[in-house]
């Protein structure tokens, strides 16, 4: 056995052991500690926080809301991001690069600035979004977006949309255009080509994009905090409150660890399913 690769990665390994693994283990331990308003954190082993998080209906509702929002965000991203990636891929040279920059660029723009944009667009009953929807005749009365789940879903779909476009785009690059041409030559209409040729081949891309978007939506913090305000809580904003307002760190740690475990379960489970289903495509 050669030692060179281990020596080369040793600095980074030590860094990650010290600054990632140790803090995560400390957080798991913290979730088993006791806490009181006056005594602070007591380093004893109790199941109190976990019992509270797992049995209290307040936490059930909050986790349920978190995953419901993540689900709808993923759905929106797949419904709009996947077709857009396909359209983008069929564009000609200057437009293709330009619009790719326009659509992927927001990924690198501060999430606080982007969410602020949505807060301005929603802005109460006179917000621009409502004015636009009413003038298009889609709705008759203004919809509440600020401080609602609908607003959170729309803003998060915008924040995470580039990830979906990126995943589908990457899948489209591996696609052989000759297959499409062959289908057309054999007499298939555009919708048949899309449904029978393109969609099955980019499905792994859509699914891996969906996994990324779901995981990021369920753990998003800044967007739900700004759009949801102080009342409408998701898992991450609740953990933040426990840590920096209530100061009940052990309970906050339990919420965070549960979020992490639930997300790992969903992501690993979904990835396994996708890989098994598309073993031929990946292999």
């Amino acid at each position: 056995m050669r030692v060179a690769p281990y020596l080369l990665s040793l600095p980074a390994l030590l860094l990650f052991a010290g600054v990632v693994i140790v803090p995560l283990v400390m957080t798991v331990l913290l979730s088993f500690h006791d806490w009181g308003q006056y005594k602070g954190i007591e380093p004893v082993f109790v199941l109190k926080n976990w019992q509270e998080v797992l049995s209290d209906s307040y936490f059930h509702e909050m986790f349920w809301r978190t995953f419901r929002i993540a689900f709808f965000v993923t759905l929106l991203a797949a419904m709009f991001g996947a077709p857009e990636a396909y359209i983008l891929n069929r564009m000609k040279s200057p437009w293709r690069g330009l619009f790719l920059l326009v659509i992927l660029g927001p990924l690198l723009i501060s999430v606080v600035a982007r969410t602020l944009g949505w807060a301005l667009l929603f802005g109460g009953n006179s917000g621009l979004v409502n004015k636009a929807l009413i003038s298009m005749g889609l709705i008759s009365a203004p919809l509440p977006f600020m401080f609602t789940e609908t607003g959170m879903v729309v803003a998060l779909a915008h924040v995470l949309m580039p990830y979906m476009v990126l995943a589908v785009w990457a899948a489209l690059q591996r696609l052989d255009p000759q297959i499409e041409n062959a289908a057309v030559a054999l007499g298939a209409g555009p919708f048949t080509v899309l449904r029978r040729i393109v969609l099955p081949q980019v499905m792994p891309g859509i699914l891996s994009g969906a996994i990324i978007v779901f995981a990021l939506a369920a753990s998003a913090f800044a967007t739900p905090a700004i759009i949801g305000g102080r009342r409408l809580k998701v898992a991450s904003t609740l953990a933040y409150d426990e840590f920096l307002n209530t100061l009940n760190w052990p309970l906050g740690a339990a919420v965070a660890v549960l979020l992490l475990v639930a997300l790992i379960a969903v992501v690993v489970g979904a990835s396994r399913l996708v890989e098994r289903r598309y073993a031929q495509v990946f292999g």
Binding site: G97, L116, G117, A253
Partner: protein, 268 residues
């Protein structure tokens, strides 16, 4: 390949509008002449841009973010170069697990990382310090640096190195004169991507930044939590303009697609 029909182009127009609307709206409101949030139509004003100068906390937070990003990305690149060479050139037991560990900050929710760092730094006496921020940012931007470094290390033609060795170059000379210059473009773009991610990071940083060590996104976030006024839109507009400028430079220099999609990486 056929062309996009009118329906596809209509969809595309709506999609691009959706993607750009919130960003443009921030820049639009920033030019309001009023003392409250409004959409300027006939009268435009720079008063809220001048107003930033009266809030030193935004300015100092901006410089802190800049230094934090530059420093943590540089250190992250320094850590990832040897690790990337190991991952790209050797097949060894634990290689997959090690890569997964280095990529894990992408998968672990930043809220969880923020909490973990808060607990850890408080325990070891680094709570609320700039040094703690740097440590935390090194870890969260390392995956971006590593991914691009691995990609360029894999793309490297090893015959050039062998030629240097056969011409009598020592291992150190090969590393210094051949290997590092060849992976340098990858390192530069890895640094740039790491920098942008550090500069924008808010979720993890909001847990570990204290009043004297707030970064710009954290300062903006905390400000918005209290109230939304035109000042924060003008600050955001500045951030957007800076990011877009950096983006265009990176796109010209390296290609945004290559940067974000990544070719030949096995990280993810």
């Amino acid at each position: 390949m056929s062309k996009n029909g009118p329906l596809a182009l209509a969809f595309h127009t709506l999609f691009v509008t959706f993607m750009l609307a919130p960003i443009l709206v921030v820049c639009w409101v920033a030019f309001t002449p009023e003392g409250f949030l409004s959409f300027p139509t006939d009268r435009w004003s720079l008063r809220w841009f001048y107003a930033i100068a009266r809030y030193p906390e935004f300015i100092s937070a901006f410089w802190r973010s800049l230094w934090l990003g530059a420093l943590s990305s540089a250190i992250a690149v320094a850590f990832s170069v040897p690790a990337a060479l190991a991952i790209a050139r050797y097949r060894f037991p634990g290689r997959e697990a090690m890569t997964a560990l280095f990529m894990s900050p992408l998968m672990i929710p930043h809220v969880v990382l923020g909490i973990a760092f808060l607990r850890f730094f408080t325990q070891i006496g680094l709570g609320g310090t700039f040094f703690g921020l740097v440590l935390a940012h090194i870890v969260i931007v390392l995956p971006f640096a590593l991914r691009l470094t691995v990609a360029s290390a894999i793309g490297l033609d090893r015959a050039i190195e062998h030629a240097a060795v056969s011409l009598g170059a020592s291992e150190w000379i090969v590393l210094k004169r051949i290997t590092l210059p060849l992976v340098l473009p990858g390192l530069a773009s890895g640094w740039a991507l790491a920098f942008i991610n550090s500069f924008d990071e808010v979720t993890m940083t909001v847990f570990i930044a204290a009043p004297g060590t707030e970064t710009l996104p954290v300062r903006m976030f905390l400000y918005i939590q209290d109230n939304i006024d035109p000042l924060v839109t003008s600050v955001s507009a500045c951030v957007i303009v800076i990011t877009v400028a950096a983006l265009v430079v990176m796109d010209r220099a390296y290609g945004l697609e290559r940067l974000l999609v990544g070719r030949g990486t096995d990280g993810r």
